[in-house]
């Protein structure tokens, strides 16, 4: 019977459920009252396809493709202004991270106007996974050469060279002693995968 509460609860997980399940702790997404404090507090709000408030309404409406194609999560600078101001204490920034991960999994980020953002993160993390440390010079050259050769030229001729001359950039990556241990831990973590 459709009126039986137990039967009504037994349904396939919605996009909303998926988003919540992929976010650590309790993100309180269902508490959103659509007040818009988040969008009004966001430093990159004007450049986003959708404000966080709009995104949350779209999640509620099950608009998975549109949400994961939005550039908004990628334009989130992780400043947490929305999160401390949210009257309902929704974990907005953490939800943005969740949407980034889901957009990558579904391959939909490529259709957003921030299509290169994941690769920046991937290049950054590639050095961390292999050395245990970040490596700015490698990151800048590899990422820019692939996506933005003119930008790479600019980096190399002005900022990058300035960083090197000032002694503010390492020429070679540093490897931690326990890199084998770290790799084992990360491999295991990837194996477990899953949500928290």
């Amino acid at each position: 019977m459709a009126t039986d509460p137990a039967a009504m609860r037994a349904r396939a997980p919605t996009f909303f459920d998926e988003v919540v399940a992929n976010t650590p702790g309790n993100p309180r997404l269902e508490m959103c009252i659509q007040c818009g404090t988040c969008g009004g507090s966001c430093p990159s709000g004007p450049d986003m396809d959708h404000t966080p408030r709009a995104l949350f309404a779209m999640i509620e409406a099950g608009m998975k493709d549109a949400v994961l194609r939005s550039n908004s999560p990628w334009y989130c600078v992780s400043c947490y202004y929305c999160m401390v101001r949210c009257p309902q204490e929704v974990h907005i920034t953490d939800l943005m991270y969740t949407l980034k991960r889901m957009a990558i999994q579904e391959g939909l980020y490529q259709e957003s106007s921030a299509a290169t953002a994941p690769e920046f993160s991937e290049t950054f993390i590639d050095f961390v996974e292999n050395y245990g440390r970040s490596f700015e010079l490698g990151l800048a050259t590899r990422y820019h050469l692939r996506h933005n050769p003119m930008g790479a030229m600019k980096m190399a001729t002005s900022l990058g060279l300035g960083m090197l001359r000032k002694g503010r950039m390492e020429l070679n990556p540093k490897r931690i002693k326990g890199i084998a241990q770290l790799k084992t831990i990360l491999t295991k973590a990837k194996e477990i995968g899953g949500a928290a």
């Binding site: 600078v77 947490y80 202004y81 961390v128 540093k174 241990q181 477990i192």
Partner: protein, 322 residues
């Protein structure tokens, strides 16, 4: 006072001035920093965008190593705001989500490690300076007050937000660094955007969006006639300093505000020499500000002229890494 210390990747190169000045000031204030043995990168804002569990396990390794060293009730200092947040946030979510804690520990166990959530207390360097050392003890060390230097204290985001652990300062309008600067004798200017974002990694994702965010901050400090902006985070320093020239080019502005670390100004007020405190590493030179307070600027790097017939070559990295 003895603490565990997690420097983070930036302190080794990009923020070398922060490193030198932190060590100098810590020495003067009897703060003993015991570095976490063989720490790894915290993942910055990148790993959380890609994979959940590996991101927490990466930070979990650092927390486990810090807990094993057990220094002074496991108090761990991070000087970088991003490292501070990632360490604090991982500890917080592991504490509040037992499932996450179990999974992180399952991954850590593969490397022979374990972390009990809540066993490390992560704190930012500024917190230690203003709360554990305290303003009276700092005032006693001041031998060369920074009179007449107009300082805009810039906190950025991650030291005061999201406040997953009880923050030591206000998330919207923090004031501890203001009081610290006043204690050093400096004139603190109003800086309404003091806790707004520097753009983080946005310079690499969408440069013009980032430059606009940086422009707002520089304009705000310039409007209040600040001589310098003082920061507590390598990312904030890098964005405001290294991209100031790009901002000027894009917007036709003429900003020329040196971006310094709070530890550098503490060192100057304690009578230390600019050259010991990493001055000279900044893109926007602090020489004018140093002259204003009667401190000796660091020596200018010597430019070697190419010999006759030799082609002009790009200069190589400075050798004085101190």
């Amino acid at each position: 006072m003895k603490y565990g210390y997690y420097p983070g990747c930036s302190m080794e190169r990009n923020a070398i001035a922060y490193h030198h000045s932190t060590m100098a000031v810590a020495g003067a204030l009897d703060i003993e920093l015991q570095e976490v043995e063989d720490w790894n990168c915290c993942g910055a804002t990148e790993y959380f965008s890609l994979e959940l569990l590996p991101a927490y396990a990466l930070v979990g390794r650092n927390l486990a190593l810090a807990a094993n060293q057990s220094v002074n009730g496991n108090q761990l200092i991070a000087p970088c705001s991003a490292c501070f947040l990632n360490l604090a946030k991982t500890d917080h979510y592991m504490s509040t989500s037992p499932d996450l804690a179990d999974q992180v520990n399952e991954a850590l166990a593969a490397g022979g490690l374990h972390y009990d959530p809540g066993s490390v207390k992560v704190r930012h360097l500024l917190d230690i300076v203003v709360n554990d050392v305290g303003f009276p003890a700092i005032a006693e060390k001041v031998t060369k007050p920074l009179y007449n230097l107009r300082v805009a204290p810039y906190y950025g985001c991650l030291i005061v937000r999201p406040g997953t652990q009880k923050s030591f300062d206000d998330p919207e309008y923090p004031t501890t660094m203001d009081t610290l600067m006043q204690t050093l004798g400096a004139e603190v200017v109003d800086f309404p955007l003091k806790a707004h974002c520097c753009g983080g990694h946005m310079t690499q994702i969408s440069e013009n969006v980032a430059l606009e965010m940086i422009r707002r901050l520089l304009k705000n400090a310039a409007d209040y006639e600040a001589d310098v902006i003082v920061t507590l985070c390598p990312m904030c320093q890098l964005n405001l300093d290294a991209y100031q020239d790009s901002v000027n080019k894009l917007f036709g502005t003429n900003f020329n505000i040196p971006i310094l670390y709070f530890t550098q100004l503490m060192g100057l007020a304690f009578g230390m020499r600019a050259v010991e405190l990493g001055f000279g590493k900044e893109f926007v030179s602090a020489t004018l500000a140093l002259t204003k307070i009667g401190a000796e600027p660091p020596p200018k790097p010597k430019k070697k002229r190419p010999a006759k017939g030799e082609l002009p070559m790009p200069a190589m990295p400075e050798e004085d890494n101190q």
